[in-house]
Symmetry: C2
């Protein structure tokens, strides 16, 4: 059994490889919901959807989000009203948000609805929201004060410096049903290559999750989202620096050392192995850039072997 903590694109690609090398039924993904947003009255869960669409091979690979073959009639029509179109919702993607919102309104939990959506896409793994309670990632950005994560990430295209991140609601949020058990029962715990601050950060901030990972440290492994000091996508590198961390595999090692016994870093960082291990964890070097499912599967094999110390 493998339990993975996951954010968006990087995690989704890794999971796509993972279910090619182990039976999907053996995999549980615990997914960040801190960047969920309610827009137009609809409950949007960007990371859950990126994971689901990627695993279903339905993601738009060019954009990295949303569905392939998408149309944009609703957004274009919304422009007539000068409505909120900064967060682009494709017509087909809208169906997911309509369904989720309807079911939540019917009294279903996000966990239950997420399972229904995964099943509708024919996915065999278990996708668990980190919590059924609302946790909202908020960032303080220069000149503006605190804004919601999507306003920063999409609205400002993560182009403004961040001085603070907080997870509103996390103090009273409970882990989703199954989350703690999935960590306790896993043979391997993987922290996917996601932004440590705003993707993995909210997941481990939910009550009990961090401790549950720490308890499995010897079986836990992380893949660095930072390669040669840069994030492949998104603001992880800048955000680490802005918040006083080091934007390098060593900085990632420092953050994750309490949680995992092993860190997988990219071949480009092969010269940092000693510095990583000096932070108190084993370091494994691999090709970590995943252009497609084949590379993702190769990486997944390396990660599992390293975690099992084969």
């Amino acid at each position: 059994m493998i339990t993975a903590l996951a954010g968006g694109v990087g995690a989704a690609r890794f999971l796509r490889g993972l279910i090619d090398v182990v039976p999907p039924a053996d995999v549980t993904a615990v997914v960040n919901t801190g960047d969920d947003i309610v827009l137009h009255g609809l409950h949007i869960s960007p990371d859950l959807d990126t994971v689901t669409y990627t695993l279903a091979d339905a993601i738009d690979r060019e954009r990295g989000w949303g569905l392939g073959g998408e149309t944009w009639q609703a957004m274009e029509s919304l422009e007539r009203y000068k409505g909120n179109t900064w967060f682009r919702l494709g017509d087909r993607d809208l169906a997911t948000h309509l369904y989720r919102t309807q079911r939540l309104g019917d009294g279903q939990t996000l966990t239950a609805v997420t399972a229904e959506i995964a099943q509708a896409w024919g996915l065999g793994l278990r996708i668990l929201p980190m919590s059924d309670d609302r946790v909202e990632t908020r960032v303080v950005v220069e000149g503006e004060g605190e804004i919601g994560f999507q306003e920063y990430f999409v609205g400002r295209q993560h182009g403004v410096p961040v001085s603070e991140v907080r997870f509103a609601g996390v103090d009273t949020a409970n882990p989703g049903p199954g989350v703690l058990d999935a960590l306790a029962d896993a043979d391997v715990v993987v922290i996917c290559p996601s932004n440590p601050i705003v993707s993995i950060g909210p997941v481990i901030a939910v009550g009990g999750v961090r401790d549950a990972v720490v308890a499995r440290r010897e079986q836990a492994i992380a893949v660095s989202p930072i390669i040669a000091g840069r994030a492949l996508k998104g603001p992880a590198d800048r955000m680490l620096t802005e918040l006083g961390h080091e934007a390098s595999v060593v900085g990632v090692a420092r953050l994750y050392a309490p949680l995992v016994a092993t860190l997988v870093i990219d071949e480009e960082d092969a010269d940092r192995v000693d510095a990583v291990e000096a932070e108190g964890l084993r370091c494994v070097v691999a090709q970590t850039i995943m252009h497609g499912p084949a590379e993702a599967a190769t990486l997944a094999k390396v990660v599992l072997a390293a975690a099992r110390r084969d």
Copy 2:
């Protein structure tokens, strides 16, 4: 100044003619919101939208509802989840519901949002929801008990007998801002050719509206939605019979006699003039079927002349 009480398709077509024969700025439409529905978390106002889209010449004339040139990606995708697709929402139409829901969530009133939507479509008349408070038309149908109006109208395609109609919430609902003044200030009050029970019924059930119409009875005129015992569209004829009324211009006259001094009936019912007038109102015969804006404009002229007793 002309104030019209309006439901859906028939009213929308009449209003489309009316704004061709008087300046749109002189027209206020007070529109039924009893068949509003929240679906997928979205606030849908079918009659408001039918009026707006028709007046903007954007309605799909074949279907009689929704936008012309519509696409259906969201609904088709919703089928994957076995979501609620019985109430068809086109991709472009969705933008209206997204916008309305967002604005209501922002704390705007339905009256304010309706004005914004009308303005976005370039409409010069004033479209007022009957109330900013939630009034819900509910019908008791054979074998099922009470269901929402859209579940009856769209879900059962109004094919089941109705034994009772009620307007949940109407006892505490206030007329929308401007509604009572629009009636008090009008030179002519028109009850459009809409279903007397479930389109006009909710409007006059809102506190004060019926009395405000009664106070203007001498300047008030109705157009019969029943022609030769039949409704052109929808269940008005069956519903009148099922609820103990007469599905004829005489039955309509009986319902509207306390409200209007004049009833316009179709040429097909020319032999019923005496019977109508026996109910205590003047009867005017005209061609009332509106296939297009030209016929609607002709009818509007007749109605205004009759109301003014030219």
